[in-house]
Symmetry: C2
Subunit: 160 residues, 2 copies
């Protein structure tokens, strides 16, 4: 059956970010819709942010196109240009290799949800605009470095 039963899908929370960044995306949860439907060529996630939550650190992708449509509630999208309000039906596109980081904030008192689609590059590099941090994802493994390439090591007392 191609129709997805969203209520049956596992709700994913947590973060791949190293400390102290890992707590930044508390309040974010998502459903992996594309994976649930057997898709392998691009990812489709339905992301819900609790009041006060953020989607990610502000970032841009080297290899992967990304597309977002808001489905419920209201967000602030932050890019180099500043803040943009986004409501249901509003869409944003982020072509690969465009060094203008983005993320979404829920500053309302109610949960808000967007659909996000991303291509699946064999090797991806995401750069975090407002931090000295880069992640390289290859063969399912994420490696965090500083922008000059040095390995990122979490501050003492914050390592897990």
């Amino acid at each position: 059956m191609p129709k997805l039963d969203l209520a049956s899908l596992p709700v994913r929370t947590g973060s791949i970010y190293p400390p102290p960044y890992d707590t930044l995306v508390a309040g974010r949860s998502s459903l992996r819709l594309g994976e649930a439907g057997g898709l392998t060529q691009f990812g489709v996630n339905l992301v819900t942010l609790a009041p006060g939550a953020m989607s990610s650190m502000r970032h841009w992708h080297l290899a992967e196109d990304e597309f977002v449509m808001v489905t419920e509630g209201r967000f602030i999208m932050v890019t180099d240009a500043g803040e943009t309000e986004m409501g249901p039906g509003d869409c944003a596109a982020f072509p690969a290799n465009t060094p203008d980081g983005h993320h979404f904030l829920n500053r309302t008192g109610r949960p808000a949800t967007f659909l996000v689609i991303g291509s699946k590059a064999p090797r991806e590099v995401a750069t975090y605009s407002d931090e000295d941090l880069v992640v390289t994802v290859e063969a399912g493994r994420a490696t965090f470095t500083h922008k000059d390439g040095r390995p990122y090591i979490a501050p003492k007392g914050e390592q897990k």
Copy 2:
């Protein structure tokens, strides 16, 4: 600006289908959101069907994954399993090379809209489940054949 101004986008109508199939998708219009946002790795279209319209002939893709989310109104999705009702927020996934054709019908009295995402294979073959018709799309050119490979020639009096 990554946010798209949907109201400014050209509304696309018409069909690549040869006669007599070309009139089947009258009442279908779409906005090419991904293209408008500069994306090249996958397609994102917002498709609206007028009352009585259909999205396409029932078909399946050989090379391309496809994903649909209903954003407004109600549809009937038709697959080999029969008819499935779809309303706002409902999603369906169609993995490549799964020979179960699908299409969407608007049997309501109001327009209805879905978002559709598809990957972009260099060569794609779509097979129409209920007709003796196949289309191969390569380098931006669509070629219609019968299922045994013979060229499709529109019936006399219906050629344009």
